[in-house]
């Protein structure tokens, strides 16, 4: 079996490289460490894509099992995490398609919308606006707002801004071009900003 090469340009091999090597050699505890390291992120991604908790749980479980079975195919020229994310996104999209039978589900959908491309709400926000809401209220606002984004924008925003993938990694994971990722990211950010303004704008007469 060929050894996994460190990612080009990095002086130190990523700590996952050693764990993947050990898992490939049959050490389940090494794979368990990878699972525990990334299960939160993978669940979040699956939930953002499927918008359904049961599907997200199944997609996450199948993604980790599939990745385990395919460890030999992992080339090591990308990060283990981005490889895992790609599997999780595919598993999640598959479940979404099953649930929406007959309805086209693709990360390419709804990309023609112009909503949010031109900001309309130009009111400034209150300082630390999230503090005007309790945790439960804030969670609901954030979930409701991001659920309203077109699928193709939402996934790009989640991978790029929430989960911290680079533009290149996001493009590779979703099979999109770099300009497509950039264009969706800008519109996702602007649409979310516009929608959150409803809740977070500075109240009239509030102290500056």
């Amino acid at each position: 079996m060929a050894a996994i090469q460190p990612i080009a340009g990095e002086l130190e091999p990523h700590p996952d490289v050693a764990l993947v090597e050990r898992a490939r050699a049959g050490d389940v505890s090494a794979y368990d460490s990878l699972v525990r390291k990334y299960d939160r992120q993978i669940f979040r991604i699956a939930q953002h894509v499927t918008q359904n908790r049961e599907d997200a749980e199944d997609a996450m479980q199948d993604a980790f099992l599939k990745a385990y079975e395919k460890l030999d195919q992992f080339q090591g020229n990308s990060k283990f995490y981005t490889w895992l994310v790609r599997i999780a996104v595919n598993e999640s999209l598959m479940r979404l398609r099953k649930r929406r039978t007959g309805k086209m589900v693709s990360i390419d959908e709804d990309v023609e919308t112009e909503e949010g491309s031109v900001p309309r709400d130009l009111a400034d926000w209150a300082p630390d606006p999230e503090q005007n809401f309790n945790q439960a209220e804030l969670g609901e606002i954030l979930r409701k707002t991001i659920r309203g984004l077109p699928q193709g924008f939402r996934i790009v925003f989640v991978l790029r801004d929430v989960e911290g993938l680079s533009t290149e990694e996001t493009a590779e994971t979703l099979g999109l071009s770099i300009p497509a990722v950039k264009s969706r990211l800008l519109r996702a950010r602007l649409q979310l900003r516009e929608r959150l303004s409803r809740y977070f704008r500075r109240k009239k007469g509030a102290e500056k």
Binding site: D32, R40, Q47, L65, Y68, P119, W125, R143, D161, L196
Partner: protein, 78 residues
Amino acid sequence: MTCTEFLARLDDLIDDSVTPEMRAELNAHLRRCGHCEVILNTTRKTIEIYRSHEIYELPAGLRDRLHAAIMARCKKGC
């Protein structure tokens, strides 16, 4: 620089991928355009809020079920 040109560079500015010359031009626009300043600040805040709040938490017990499923799969043939 117009507001449209500023918006086209908004992501580059947020992601800190602009040349010093472009940054100077963008900052010059910001000094005289309150609207673009609000858009920049509130877009940054949007990203920060989503990054810092875990809106979908891992359900209790899911980690253990996943562990059990991996172990079961492993016993079958790894």
